[in-house]
């Protein structure tokens, strides 16, 4: 019985591959009905399935494929045109075959699906032809034979392809010289036809001899590879991969040993071992690699169906189909890729009428591109549709509570576009039932990030949208940075590492500012929240980090950057990812690995570490995509404030969420336009506000920022208020604090929102809008309507 099982298994595997190919072929055929190569492939696929299932006694499957085959034979002899109706019916047949196959795979039986409707459809289409062609003896004949027995069809193929061959033959049907390449291709396919037919005939003629060779003949969907490739169980490859992993570790051990020896022969041998192991590792990895076309070949059919459903016209273009990815990675990204394509079809590409109105061709274009870059694969899904409608996105963001009214005005393009990745954003669910399906782009992002990849979006409103996925080649071996904390080594996946920073004796600018438990480092003007790895891992803190220097690993977690302070950064290397041991759950580790000398090291899960410490969800650095949801919920009783000191030691604070950057601007650069201070800043003119002049210190003698004799550069907080940039000149930026807002006092003057007590000092929180109005009453009116504002 096991022999039979193996045959069925083989049959299922082959058939499902062929069906995928057939989906693609039918869509091609619809556009190019004369393509004989594609046509014969379709015919062969169905024929083989039919032949084999007859042998395996799958009656339903045989009936369905039989009707399909009959219809196809009419298409082939030209008595039936491939109309959209016919294509749809044939695609329906493929789906039915798939259903049956999966039922067989699951239960061993054909299930209780009813395909009589489909068969009736197929026969109806077929009858149209046969009635029309009743007089034609040849067609009538072939119909009759088809109905009576599958065996008799076989010589028909042979006959038919010998018929088609001469027409392809350049001598008989000469074509233009330029098509010689094409011709060659066709020739080679037609020879393939011939060579594959014979065994089909034998297998089918003898009826029940052995269907296996019969099936193997179908492999030539991958033409030339057919002969030189063989099927290997994935488990064998997985095992091989594990063994190579072991070998890599042993190699690392040997290399380490060889470093400590003077034995030249040993050293030479270990260098050789190193080389061979590396090659072997690569070769084994390659066996698990599959071209991305495996995933993409489902798409033409998918796009066809979807675009019909949406009433849109879409051409799909694919580049880089040969780009290879690890099998596991392909499986992991499949859903996300489909989702992005669906998203483009639903929201991106416009309906033909609208496209015409916008001066575009009525047929939209969906492009998929893939290529290798470094150790990653970049996949781009782009369309030339309407792009992302910022207003609609903002509106939806407000509705869904992802962003507050106040914040909405201050978001830049990138931040608005990032909103569509927020959980709960999905606009799709309400409009159509096709996109969505309960999955939003947030899930896509999560899935991609789960395998160490990233998603970016670029949109040109009105013109195009493109999603760029960056995905690791393989999941099993990854490059990491090894760091040490309290003498223990940890691995950090290099994909999450942005850069490594080493601070010596705080000579670097302002160094680490640490107050109220939110340490930050000012990295090139951006505020980087910091975590101490030893504290995060629960090691009890001991005073000084080693030797006055500080190592910061700058990490990217969920769109936000943060710095991880470690005792030492050791080196970077490739490691084999192993699962964590049993009973270790819910901790910030992504796995484990074995290092060169055999010791186990934990791989840090950067995102989880950041979440655990709250830097990822709570402290928002505004240069990255903001997470409005959390800022709304945490905004009730806690606020993140930038704490500043005035020239007379008074304390003020600015809400952190409005701040874009902190800058030093030389005093000499400050100019005056219409009596307002401005500075040239990044190709624009940035208006400035002297906070000490608008809100002077009231109690002591008046001191001004400019009274400071050592002053050469001004500290400027660059903010966005109601969508407009402005710079606040302050005396001294002190810190970022996470302030509890439950004890507040009302403001006592204009320009101040409220007062809180920070470290026993009354601190005024600046009301940015009011402050700006005090300094320049016309600021907002001027900015909002530059053309018709009248000023």
């Amino acid at each position: 019985m096991s022999g039979m099982d193996a045959i069925i298994k083989e049959f299922l595997a082959e058939s499902s591959e062929n069906l995928d190919q057939m989906d693609q072929d039918l869509v091609v055929l619809e556009k190019d009905p004369a393509n004989q190569e594609v046509f014969s492939r379709i015919f062969r696929t169905i024929h083989t399935i039919k032949g084999t299932c007859g042998f395996l006694a799958f009656g339903k499957l045989e009936a369905v494929t039989h009707s399909g085959e009959t219809l196809l034979s009419h298409l082939r002899d030209g008595s039936l045109e491939l109309s959209p109706e016919v294509t749809t019916t044939l695609l329906g047949m493929i789906d039915a075959v798939r259903q049956l196959l999966s039922a067989i795979e699951v239960s061993g039986g054909e299930g209780d699906g009813d395909y009589s409707g489909l068969i009736a459809d197929l026969e109806r289409l077929e009858k149209k032809v046969s009635e029309k062609k009743k007089d034609d003896p040849k067609s009538g004949d072939s119909l009759g034979t088809v109905k009576s027995s599958r065996i008799e069809l076989v010589p028909e193929i042979a006959e038919d392809s010998t018929e088609t061959e001469p027409s392809i033959d350049p001598k008989v049907a000469p074509r233009k010289a330029s098509s010689s390449k094409r011709r060659k291709k066709k020739e080679s396919t037609s020879t393939e036809d011939v060579s594959t037919q014979e065994p089909v005939g034998i297998g089918a003629d003898s009826g029940d001899a052995d269907p296996v060779p019969n099936l193997e003949i179908e492999a030539p969907t991958t033409t030339a590879l057919g002969e030189s490739s063989l099927r290997v169980d994935v488990h064998v490859l997985d095992h091989l991969m594990n063994l190579v992993g072991e070998l890599v570790l042993a190699r690392n051990q040997i290399l380490r040993l060889s470093e400590g020896t003077n034995d030249q022969q040993f050293e030479a041998a270990s260098v050789r071992l190193h080389g061979v192991t590396t090659d072997l590792q690569e070769a084994v990895m390659r066996t698990r690699m599959q071209p991305i076309s495996l995933l993409w070949k489902k798409l033409p059919r998918f796009v066809r169906d979807m675009s019909q459903q949406f009433g849109k016209k879409v051409d799909i273009h694919m580049e880089g189909q040969d780009t290879e990815l690890d099998k596991a990675v392909i499986e992991a990204i499949q859903g996300s890729l489909l989702h992005l394509v669906r998203n483009s079809l639903d929201h991106g590409i416009e309906k033909p009428d609208l496209r015409r109105e916008r001066g575009k061709s009525p047929t939209g274009n969906l492009r998929l591109k893939a290529h290798h870059e470094g150790g990653n694969v970049l996949i781009e899904v782009s369309d030339d549709g309407g792009g992302i409608d910022h207003e609609a996105v903002l509106k939806r963001g407000l509705e869904a509570g992802l962003v507050s009214e106040a914040e909405a005005g201050s978001l830049d393009t990138k931040q608005i576009q990032a909103l569509i990745f927020q959980p709960g954003f999905s606009t799709a669910r309400r409009v159509t039932n096709v996109s969505g399906r309960g999955v939003g782009l947030d899930i896509v992002r999560n899935n991609i990030e789960a395998i160490g990849g990233s998603v970016e979006i670029h949109s040109d409103p009105g013109r195009s949208t493109s999603f760029r996925l960056k995905i690791p080649l393989t999941l099993a071996i990854i490059p990491v940075v090894l760091v040490a904390s309290r003498g223990q080594r940890f691995a950090i996946p290099q994909l999450s590492v942005v850069e490594l920073v080493r601070l010596d004796n705080e000579s670097d600018g302002l160094g680490i500012e640490d107050l109220n438990g939110v340490p930050v480092y000012r990295l090139r003007g951006h505020l980087l929240p910091l975590l101490y790895l030893d504290e995060e891992l629960g090691f009890t803190t001991s005073g000084e980090p080693g030797g006055g220097s500080v190592n910061i690993v700058v990490l990217q977690g969920d769109d936000r950057r943060f710095g991880l302070i470690v005792d030492a950064i050791e080196d970077s290397q490739e490691i084999v990812v192993k699962p964590l041991g049993r009973l270790i759950d819910g901790l910030p580790y992504a796995g484990s690995t074995i290092l060169g000398e055999g010791a186990v090291a934990l791989i840090l899960d950067v995102l989880r570490l950041g979440l655990k410490a709250g830097v990822v969800s709570e402290v928002r650095t505004h240069q990255a995509a903001p997470d409005h949801e959390t800022s709304v919920t945490t905004g009730v009783d806690r606020r993140t404030l930038l704490y500043v000191m005035g020239p007379a030691d008074e304390r003020m604070a600015v809400d952190f969420s409005a701040i874009d950057r902190l800058e030093f601007i030389p005093v000499s650069k400050v100019e005056r336009v219409a009596d307002l201070p401005v500075v040239q800043y990044r190709d624009e003119i940035l208006q400035l506000v002297w906070v000490d002049q608008v809100l002077p210190e009231r109690r002591t003698e008046i001191r001004k920022i400019t009274d400071d004799p050592d002053l050469d550069a001004l500290q400027v907080i660059v903010c966005t208020v109601d969508g407009q940039r402005i710079g606040l000149i302050v005396y001294r930026i002190m810190d970022i604090i996470d302030q509890n807002m439950d004890v507040t006092r009302p403001a006592s003057r204009e320009g101040i929102e409220t007062c809180v007590v920070v470290e026993d000092r009354v601190t005024e929180i600046i009301d940015l809008k009011a402050l700006i109005r005090l300094a320049d009453p016309g600021f907002f009116e001027r900015g909002l309507k530059p053309s018709s504002g009248g000023s």
């Binding site: 223990q488 041991g581 049993r582 009973l583 010791a599």
Partner: protein, 141 residues
Amino acid sequence: MLQYCTFWVGELFIGIEVSRVQEVLSHSSITPVPLAPVHVKGLINLRGHIVTAIDMGIRLDVGRAGLAGGDMMHVILNDDQGLLSLVVDRAGDVVEVDQETHEGPPETLQGEARRLIRGAFKLEGRLLLDLDVDYVVALSG
């Protein structure tokens, strides 16, 4: 007659059915897992497999803070979910026990140990405590 693999955790003389045990070995290098429950002693590299080591001293709550470094032994269990190591003080022999001599856990056992020990075999001159491996494995997380 049943075969039991024996070991000591503190003063306790404990046995596990031989069929549950893959091997017993001494192993010095162990990687702690910060933030894990206290009885997770760490991870060891067993010929390329990462194995979680459970500190039986803490698990059984024998009244001292964990096991000492150098002398500890690993009793490696193998079941359908993979490998797990029980870190114990000292390994004993494999002994044959008579099911007839099995009786309830001694009254002197307290707390966690009382739940983990499902009974005892009377050997000549001493008691062999019968460890409920399934319970250890299931609740060690």
